[in-house]
Protein backbone atom coordinates (compact mmCIF):
# COMPACT_ATOMS: atom_id res chain seq x y z
CA UNK A 1 0.00 0.00 0.00
CA UNK A 2 1.01 3.62 -0.41
CA UNK A 3 1.59 6.02 2.47
CA UNK A 4 2.69 9.63 2.40
CA UNK A 5 5.55 9.90 4.88
CA UNK A 6 7.00 13.33 5.56
CA UNK A 7 5.41 14.49 2.32
CA UNK A 8 6.83 11.71 0.16
CA UNK A 9 5.02 8.70 -1.29
CA UNK A 10 6.26 5.46 0.26
CA UNK A 11 5.29 1.87 -0.54
CA UNK A 12 4.97 -0.44 2.46
CA UNK A 13 3.51 -3.86 3.18
CA UNK A 14 -0.21 -3.98 3.78
CA UNK A 15 -1.30 -4.03 7.40
CA UNK A 16 1.79 -2.66 9.08
CA UNK A 17 1.46 -0.49 12.15
CA UNK A 18 3.25 2.71 13.14
CA UNK A 19 5.90 0.92 15.18
CA UNK A 20 6.70 -1.33 12.25
CA UNK A 21 6.95 1.68 9.97
CA UNK A 22 9.55 3.22 12.28
CA UNK A 23 11.48 -0.05 12.24
CA UNK A 24 11.24 -0.34 8.47
CA UNK A 25 12.58 3.19 8.07
CA UNK A 26 15.48 2.35 10.39
CA UNK A 27 14.62 5.15 12.80
CA UNK A 28 17.60 5.12 15.13
CA UNK A 29 15.89 6.35 18.29
CA UNK A 30 12.18 5.55 18.08
CA UNK A 31 11.68 6.62 21.69
CA UNK A 32 12.72 10.13 20.68
CA UNK A 33 10.32 10.44 17.76
CA UNK A 34 6.92 12.08 17.60
CA UNK A 35 4.43 10.68 15.12
CA UNK A 36 1.48 12.41 13.55
CA UNK A 37 -1.05 10.34 11.64
CA UNK A 38 -3.46 12.27 9.42
CA UNK A 39 -2.73 15.40 11.49
CA UNK A 40 -3.36 13.71 14.84
CA UNK A 41 -0.38 13.34 17.17
CA UNK A 42 -0.09 9.78 18.50
CA UNK A 43 0.92 8.78 22.00
CA UNK A 44 3.97 6.55 22.13
CA UNK A 45 1.90 3.68 23.57
CA UNK A 46 -0.21 3.77 20.41
CA UNK A 47 2.65 3.16 17.97
CA UNK A 48 2.44 -0.63 18.05
CA UNK A 49 -1.34 -0.76 18.07
CA UNK A 50 -2.16 1.77 15.38
CA UNK A 51 -2.54 0.16 11.96
CA UNK A 52 -1.78 2.14 8.83
CA UNK A 53 -4.04 2.28 5.81
CA UNK A 54 -3.69 3.15 2.14
CA UNK A 55 -3.17 6.86 1.67
CA UNK A 56 -2.45 7.67 5.31
CA UNK A 57 -0.36 10.76 5.85
CA UNK A 58 2.38 10.15 8.42
CA UNK A 59 4.78 12.72 9.78
CA UNK A 60 7.83 11.64 11.78
CA UNK A 61 9.91 14.16 13.70
CA UNK A 62 12.59 13.85 16.30
CA UNK A 63 12.11 15.72 19.54
CA UNK A 64 13.47 19.23 19.30
CA UNK A 65 14.91 20.21 22.64
CA UNK A 66 17.98 21.06 24.62
CA UNK A 67 19.00 23.72 27.04
CA UNK A 68 21.89 25.47 28.66
CA UNK A 69 21.77 23.09 31.64
CA UNK A 70 24.57 23.45 34.09
CA UNK A 71 27.29 21.78 32.09
CA UNK A 72 27.98 23.85 29.00
CA UNK A 73 30.82 22.36 26.97
Amino acid sequence: MKLIVNGTDVQVSDGINVGQLLFKRKVRLPDMVSVELNETVLQRAEFETTPLHEGDRVELLYFMGGGCGTHAV
Binding site: E36, M64, G65, C68, G69, V73
Partner: protein
Protein backbone atom coordinates in the same frame (compact mmCIF):
# COMPACT_ATOMS: atom_id res chain seq x y z
CA UNK B 1 30.94 26.03 3.51
CA UNK B 2 28.21 28.60 2.88
CA UNK B 3 27.09 30.79 5.73
CA UNK B 4 23.59 30.56 7.11
CA UNK B 5 22.12 33.94 6.20
CA UNK B 6 19.60 35.49 8.57
CA UNK B 7 17.87 38.72 7.53
CA UNK B 8 18.17 41.53 10.05
CA UNK B 9 14.40 41.61 10.53
CA UNK B 10 14.40 37.96 11.61
CA UNK B 11 17.43 38.50 13.84
CA UNK B 12 15.47 41.20 15.61
CA UNK B 13 12.55 38.79 16.04
CA UNK B 14 14.92 36.30 17.68
CA UNK B 15 16.25 38.99 19.97
CA UNK B 16 12.80 40.28 20.91
CA UNK B 17 11.56 36.78 21.67
CA UNK B 18 14.60 35.90 23.80
CA UNK B 19 14.41 39.13 25.78
CA UNK B 20 10.66 38.88 26.36
CA UNK B 21 10.85 35.29 27.51
CA UNK B 22 13.99 35.57 29.65
CA UNK B 23 14.80 34.05 32.08
CA UNK B 24 12.90 31.23 30.36
CA UNK B 25 14.67 29.75 27.34
CA UNK B 26 13.01 30.79 24.09
CA UNK B 27 12.89 28.47 21.10
CA UNK B 28 11.74 28.26 17.52
CA UNK B 29 12.33 27.01 14.01
CA UNK B 30 14.14 28.89 11.26
CA UNK B 31 12.91 27.95 7.83
CA UNK B 32 13.95 28.87 4.34
CA UNK B 33 15.60 27.68 1.17
CA UNK B 34 19.23 26.94 0.48
CA UNK B 35 21.24 28.78 3.10
CA UNK B 36 18.89 31.73 3.49
CA UNK B 37 16.46 31.97 6.36
CA UNK B 38 13.12 33.31 5.20
CA UNK B 39 10.88 32.77 8.19
CA UNK B 40 11.03 32.34 11.94
CA UNK B 41 8.40 30.31 13.73
CA UNK B 42 8.51 30.97 17.47
CA UNK B 43 7.62 27.81 19.37
CA UNK B 44 6.31 27.07 22.84
CA UNK B 45 8.91 25.88 25.31
CA UNK B 46 6.80 23.21 26.97
CA UNK B 47 9.35 22.96 29.79
CA UNK B 48 8.93 26.68 30.69
CA UNK B 49 12.42 26.40 32.08
CA UNK B 50 15.40 28.70 32.43
CA UNK B 51 17.80 25.91 31.56
CA UNK B 52 15.90 23.59 29.25
CA UNK B 53 13.57 23.66 26.30
CA UNK B 54 11.37 21.17 24.53
CA UNK B 55 9.16 22.06 21.60
CA UNK B 56 5.51 21.04 21.44
CA UNK B 57 5.21 18.19 18.89
CA UNK B 58 1.87 19.40 17.51
CA UNK B 59 3.45 22.81 16.81
CA UNK B 60 6.47 21.15 15.21
CA UNK B 61 4.28 19.19 12.82
CA UNK B 62 2.26 22.25 11.91
CA UNK B 63 5.39 24.28 11.16
CA UNK B 64 7.03 21.53 9.12
CA UNK B 65 3.90 21.10 7.01
CA UNK B 66 3.67 24.84 6.52
CA UNK B 67 7.31 25.07 5.42
CA UNK B 68 6.89 22.18 3.01
CA UNK B 69 3.81 23.81 1.46
CA UNK B 70 5.84 26.98 0.91
CA UNK B 71 8.71 25.11 -0.73
CA UNK B 72 10.89 25.68 2.32
CA UNK B 73 12.46 23.41 4.92
CA UNK B 74 13.77 23.54 8.45
CA UNK B 75 17.19 25.18 8.26
CA UNK B 76 17.87 25.56 11.96
CA UNK B 77 16.46 24.68 15.36
CA UNK B 78 16.86 27.77 17.46
CA UNK B 79 16.92 28.52 21.17
CA UNK B 80 18.21 31.08 23.58
CA UNK B 81 20.62 30.80 26.47
CA UNK B 82 19.38 33.58 28.76
CA UNK B 83 22.43 33.59 31.02
CA UNK B 84 25.06 31.35 29.47
CA UNK B 85 27.31 31.47 26.42
CA UNK B 86 26.27 30.76 22.85
CA UNK B 87 27.59 27.24 22.67
CA UNK B 88 25.85 23.88 22.80
CA UNK B 89 25.47 22.31 26.23
CA UNK B 90 25.65 18.60 26.90
CA UNK B 91 21.85 18.57 26.76
CA UNK B 92 21.82 20.44 23.44
CA UNK B 93 24.14 17.82 21.98
CA UNK B 94 22.16 14.91 23.42
CA UNK B 95 18.97 16.20 21.85
CA UNK B 96 20.45 17.26 18.52
CA UNK B 97 18.63 14.42 16.79
CA UNK B 98 17.23 16.01 13.65
CA UNK B 99 19.44 15.32 10.64
CA UNK B 100 20.52 17.94 8.12
CA UNK B 101 19.70 21.00 10.18
CA UNK B 102 21.78 23.56 12.02
CA UNK B 103 21.33 24.64 15.61
CA UNK B 104 21.37 28.32 16.47
CA UNK B 105 21.86 29.65 19.97
CA UNK B 106 21.28 33.25 20.99
CA UNK B 107 23.06 34.14 24.19
CA UNK B 108 21.88 37.00 26.37
CA UNK B 109 24.69 36.47 28.86
CA UNK B 110 25.89 39.96 28.12
CA UNK B 111 22.49 41.72 27.92
CA UNK B 112 23.84 44.59 25.86
CA UNK B 113 25.87 42.30 23.64
CA UNK B 114 23.73 39.38 22.50
CA UNK B 115 25.63 36.68 20.63
CA UNK B 116 24.03 34.49 17.96
CA UNK B 117 25.96 31.51 16.63
CA UNK B 118 25.11 28.52 14.46
CA UNK B 119 26.39 25.00 14.93
CA UNK B 120 26.32 21.71 13.09
CA UNK B 121 25.94 18.84 15.55
CA UNK B 122 26.41 15.38 14.13
CA UNK B 123 26.90 12.21 16.17
CA UNK B 124 27.88 14.34 19.14
CA UNK B 125 30.47 16.33 17.24
CA UNK B 126 29.92 20.09 17.34
CA UNK B 127 31.22 22.36 14.61
CA UNK B 128 30.56 26.08 14.52
CA UNK B 129 28.92 27.01 11.22
CA UNK B 130 29.39 30.43 9.57
CA UNK B 131 26.47 32.75 10.09
CA UNK B 132 25.76 36.10 8.47
CA UNK B 133 23.13 38.63 9.48
CA UNK B 134 21.87 40.68 6.56
CA UNK B 135 20.70 44.29 6.71
CA UNK B 136 21.16 44.78 10.41
Amino acid sequence: MSALVIPGSIYRELLDQARKQAPIEACGILGGQGDRVEVFHPMTNTDHSADHFLMEPAEQFKVVRSLRAAGQRVLAIHHSHPASPSRPSVEDIRLALTPDVLYTILSLQGPANPVLKAFAICEGIVTEHPLAIDDL
